[in-house]
Symmetry: C2
Subunit: 368 residues, 2 copies
């Protein structure tokens, strides 16, 4: 069996006298989950049992613990990677998963985004500016009302219009009715605007239902979809990415419970690894509590050059306004997609004008 290892990094609250034993307990919990004394196979003791690679005192009763795990325990299964990295340890209150360092073979096995930042840029003539995005809301609207909203957004020349992540396959706007209606509305607007706006339906249910949804979307000429990996299961994302190479996948952070897996790891690094072309996350200064540092690290993880993985597009979102566009672009640069939702929808009958002001602000940035 291969000796290749991945490294999993935790922050652990502990008394100093107990941290070495706690680190060893985590290494066992995340690998063989039984007393090593009861293992009589030398290869398993050497290759499979987790090893403590290091313990560092961070002060204030907090320790960084590095655990090495056998890559062979993961294979190329996204769910199994989360299971090995954090599975049972997520049930303990004292540990937060901080990072996962993968060997090249695992990165190659997963493969990351099939389109990513560069592929999405190509869809818009290779533009170098930041991308723009908004969301269809509120849920409860009929397919026709959502289509009307999408058409007005698209006339404002957005790059991407996504379903709100709460929009699934509800009786008031079933997927099979909603998606053709919205796709047709966006096609009409694109014809008028000349801008190749993409509509992203939100996938829901199980993998088989999602396959049917993607097939329907493809039949409507769509090439981009939205998925919530922590709701769907990361293996579901992985399966869809493999099955639909021509489709770009946006990852929604819902149910990310980011207090226990730090968001720069879960959203920035792992969603990219599993193939998300764009990763949506709560921006600093909006209605979520992410700090500037968290957002900077998350965007870095999503885009950092990697010979094996395409860059994902970081998509800060959550309570942003047009007024903040320059500040946000100064912060992230242009390898980013800005997602404004509620603050555009508040314009109500002036939606297309507000959207145009948004897309203009992004287009203008850095020019003057």
């Amino acid at each position: 069996m291969t000796r290749s290892r991945l490294q999993v990094i935790f922050h652990v609250q502990s008394e100093a006298a107990l941290i070495d034993a706690r680190a060893r307990a985590i290494a066992i919990e995340q690998s063989v989950e039984m007393p090593p004394a009861a293992i009589d196979d030398a290869a398993i003791l050497r290759d499979i049992v987790g090893a403590v690679d290091g313990v560092a005192d961070l002060g204030g009763g907090l320790f960084e613990v590095r655990i090495a795990l056998a890559a062979a325990t993961v294979g190329n299964d996204a769910g199994q990677l989360l299971n090995m990295a954090f599975g049972n340890t997520s049930l303990h209150d004292d540990a937060v998963l901080r990072d996962v360092i993968l060997p090249a073979e695992l990165e190659e096995g997963f493969g990351g985004p099939r389109h990513g930042l560069a592929g999405l840029r190509q869809r818009f003539g290779g533009t170098h500016r930041a991308f723009t995005c908004s969301a269809l809301k509120p849920q409860g609207l009929t397919a026709d009302r959502l289509a009307d909203l999408a058409e007005r957004f698209a006339r404002g020349r957005l790059d991407f219009i996504k379903d709100d992540h709460g929009i699934a396959d509800q009786a008031y706007a079933p997927f099979a009715e909603r998606v053709p209606a919205i796709a047709a509305a966006v096609r009409r607007a694109v014809q008028a605007s000349g801008h190749p706006t993409r509509y992203l339906p939100s996938l829901s249910g199980d993998l088989e239902q999602m396959h049917r949804q993607v097939r329907l979307a493809r039949n409507e000429g769509l090439d981009t979809v939205l998925i919530a990996p922590m709701v769907a299961g990361v293996a579901t994302l992985q399966a869809l990415v493999r099955a639909w190479p021509e489709v770009a996948f946006f990852a929604h952070p819902t149910l990310g419970g980011a207090a226990r897996i730090v968001p720069e790891l879960l959203i920035g690094k792992l969603f990219r690894l599993f193939g998300a072309d764009a990763v949506i996350f709560p921006n600093f200064g909006g209605r979520f509590g992410y700090s500037q540092d968290t957002c900077r690290r998350l965007a870095h993880n999503a885009t950092a050059p990697n010979p094996r993985l395409r860059a994902s597009v970081p998509v800060p979102a959550g309570g942003m306004t047009v007024e903040r566009v320059p500040e946000i672009l100064d912060f992230y640069g242009t390898d980013v997609m800005l997602l404004l939702g509620g603050s555009l929808l508040e314009a109500r009958e002036r939606l297309t004008e507000a959207t145009t002001a948004f897309t203009d602000a992004v287009a203008r940035h850095g020019r003057g």
Copy 2:
């Protein structure tokens, strides 16, 4: 659209002066996710926007917040239920999901376990004692070694033998090789013991792979499997339960991150709702930090009489020993399954004898 509502209950850390606004913000976040002022549809404002049903001061800056959400936003999609109940709010540090109160139509739509406690009892001649269970470990063993281990466990007359939840489809013991070998070994032991021991393979990967795995298990005569709903995605569990009515499903808590969704809700109530016939959880006094109260509430949620849902079997596990059997049975009663893993495996060459001591202790309890 139906006016039926589900109620979602959070514990929220807040200053007293801010809690009403925070409660309203959660109600909006978990429903329309946009400013109500920008919604011009009266039916949506009335039926879809989340409502604050109550705020109670629990002292110490902690508040109980009850939010009512439209059942129509959930449909019968397990993933969508978690998305609506906790999706974006899981990204906030201040809120813990405490409970979900479902209307009858949602319970009927999900349907809960297809076998459950009573169905599993029937498989063992309608026995009234507690069930017994152990786990095949460590991962890294070959299929033949795991089969040998299973045979020795089964000769000790266990009811259930499950793959360790870390055992997936790894190269050192692929599912297609491991499951037939172990199933054959357990059949041999059952022939010798006369006790109808069940072997539960652990499902991994995506839904399509899991369907193939269940099919293979069925071909080997198996009727019980193990799944980790938070790794696989709860919609994956739901799809399998619907597709394989003759199979019983055990839910593993891995990646349950129970600090943010209280375990009695996630494991006891929701896994049951979605169809798990038995729910594994860390017992108090073992190597996880669950309290007696948490375990009592979890077992209660899994088994409480419900005209629409069969009872699931509570399966306390995690660092238990034969010596604790009487104490644990006194605590849970007999509607329970005891899962001992490492403490049996430590017996090494005396595994069958240690297992027999375990199954005898359960059989004896309450008799004298």
